[in-house]
Amino acid sequence: MHIVVCIKQVPDSAQIRVHPVTNTIMRQGVPTIINPYDLFALEEAFKLRDRYGGEVTVLTMGPPMAKQALEKALAYGADRAVLLSDRHFAGSDTLATSFAISRAISKIGRSRTPEIVLAGKQTIDGDTAQVGPGIAKRLEMQQLTYATKIVSVDLHAREIAVERRSEGGTQMLKSRLPCLITVLEGVNTIRRGSIADALRAAHSRIPTWRAGDVGIEELGNCGLRGSPTVVKRVFAPSPRADKAIRIEAIEKDSDQVADDVIALILEHHPALEASFYLNGLT
């Protein structure tokens, strides 16, 4: 079985700071990581390879430095990696991103057609959850999003059974290969790659594909030009206009403070008393 895993290198958003004066993101020194949700997808690919044999190709679209994310994925145990990088892709929104990535997957498929394309459910920087469905649509694959379990794959009958998270429950689905699956968080934990994997990663040469390499002639579908959405402005969340009412209560009697807090709550939201009583009764 051949599995392609789409990953993204993202800034570790826990460490991002906003410049207090200019309101710009201070990226300097912010480490980059593989989008955490993509690691669940990668491990799911390894589990499928354990069960059914085959190989795992990781693919990322990004600037040249995104190669680091691929090296990491190889060290975890991926068989092959491909970087899709071209200035024409800069500024891509989700529609343009899914266009470019789908072309790269088609090219990967020329040597060996993937049965499954895996992706994280979303990224932690864009947070959209749209690129996966976009790729599926463009490749005319079935999309199975928010999968909690890949139950079985029948390579012979070209069938797959998965469980996916849906509103209020779990859906059990049967579908056809090839398909695109996005996996939910927490389905697994990424394994530690072996020393052999680490050595192999260190020695592998990761090819970089440009738009032309994946047969993209329609540059108008790429980057800013191919993106119907544009960011018009970026700004910091507004601080609350009225300053909070403060109760300095360190070392004070808790019971007295509690009464003060309740009095303040009700003063500001008298209607709440009704909610309390109502709830208190049930």
Partner: protein, 365 residues
């Protein structure tokens, strides 16, 4: 007022061209009405409220799109709710193939309707269903889609200005869809307010056939396992939410958070690190990667107030924060800032609330 930057970091707004001719007669605001086993998902109602405002600003009509199985109770009541919450008209696609959610027939139903009736704006809930569907519909129509918006507005020139958190909530950005229609956006549950329900309203219903047969649909639903009703959590819709963060110290101390919530008949929740520690389930997490809440009262104990947490609670009417650190970021957006040790104060709060509640309860008996 928003603290705007003088010069936007990214600006391509100047690149706005004339809208291509074939999009110029796109009109009206549409809301996809999501149903969950016969019930309209609350997010769709919230979107009807927001859609109404946009439609009024644009001077166009608001339509609800109902897609589902035969005209059973669910579909009909979804139509009724659509009108009750402000729609002028409804589009209806019914087919046995639409009984359970599947991407293919739903994408076909919604994309066909859009191609035929040309809305200007299409809104969906950012639920697992809505996100799955919105991504494929936008790609099919090759139009822009903005995820998880927190504010929607109409610009002077009539474009949809969709604002969403970016970089994990540290910043907000306003996104436009240029040169493509419809302008699509998803919004998470509880970000928008629930509009007033008006009974006995109705309007035209425009029906559409699903041009598909079961044999064409690749994915089959083998079964559905509903979440246990008993432990279904109503965090997003609770009037009162009490939450604990790392400042609570230990898993045992969380009982103090739960006790306050229980006394008030509210729900309890937590910040993300507690989920990572395994102290609470992920369905109790409040924030960007958890639930968005909109309670009347939010009581946060031992929570620092990181942006990722803040975006989940900004809709609360009254935020009361207890933190030992008088400079904690949560005090920048709390309405009542209590500088105190939460571990000691929580039991005192439970006791004080109980004192207040008991006499009233007794008088009711």
């Amino acid at each position: 007022m928003e603290a705007e930057t003088k010069s936007p970091i990214v600006s391509r707004a100047g690149a706005k061209k004339e809208l291509p001719k074939h999009f110029r007669d796109n009109r009206h605001v549409w809301v996809f009405i999501e149903t969950e086993r016969g019930q309209v998902h609350p997010v769709s109602i919230e979107l009807l409220g927001e859609g109404r405002k946009l439609a009024d600003k644009l001077g166009v009509q608001l339509a609800g799109v109902v897609v589902g199985a035969a005209e059973g109770v669910g579909t009909l009541s979804a139509i009724a709710e659509t009108f009750a919450y402000g729609a002028d008209l409804a589009y209806l696609v019914v087919s046995p193939l639409l009984s359970d959610y599947r991407n293919e027939p739903f994408t076909k139903a919604l994309s066909d309707l859009v191609i035929l009736h040309k809305p200007e704006i299409l809104l969906l809930g950012a639920t697992s269903l809505g996100r799955d569907l919105a991504g494929s519909v936008a790609t099919t129509l090759e139009t822009g889609l903005t995820a998880d918006c927190t504010t929607l507005d109409v610009d002077a020139d009539g474009s949809l200005a969709a604002t969403r958190p970016t970089f994990g909530g540290s910043l907000l950005c306003t996104i436009y869809t240029l040169n493509c229609r419809p302008q699509m956006a998803t919004v998470r549950p509880r970000v928008m307010a629930t509009p007033q329900r008006v009974a006995n309203t109705t309007g035209p219903i425009i029906r559409h056939e699903l041009m598909m047969i079961e044999e064409e649909i690749v994915t089959k639903v083998l079964g559905f396992l509903p979440d246990g009703q008993s432990h279904r959590i109503n965090l997003a819709y609770a009037d009162i939410v009490v939450a604990g963060g790392l400042g609570i110290g230990t898993a045992e101390n969380l009982e103090r958070v739960k006790a306050v919530a229980k006394t008030l008949g509210g729900e309890f929740g937590c910040s993300r690190p507690l989920v990572q520690k395994g102290w609470m389930g992920v369905d109790r997490q409040i924030g960007q990667t958890g639930q968005t809440i909109r309670p009347k009262l939010y009581l946060a104990a031992g929570i620092s107030g990181a942006v990722q947490h803040r975006v989940g609670v900004d809709g609360a009417d009254l935020i009361v924060a207890i933190n030992i650190d008088s400079n904690a970021p949560i005090f920048d957006f709390a309405h009542v800032a209590v500088v105190a040790d939460a571990i000691g104060l929580l039991p005192a709060l439970t006791a004080a609330f109980t004192r207040r509640l008991v006499p009233h309860n007794q008088s009711m008996q």
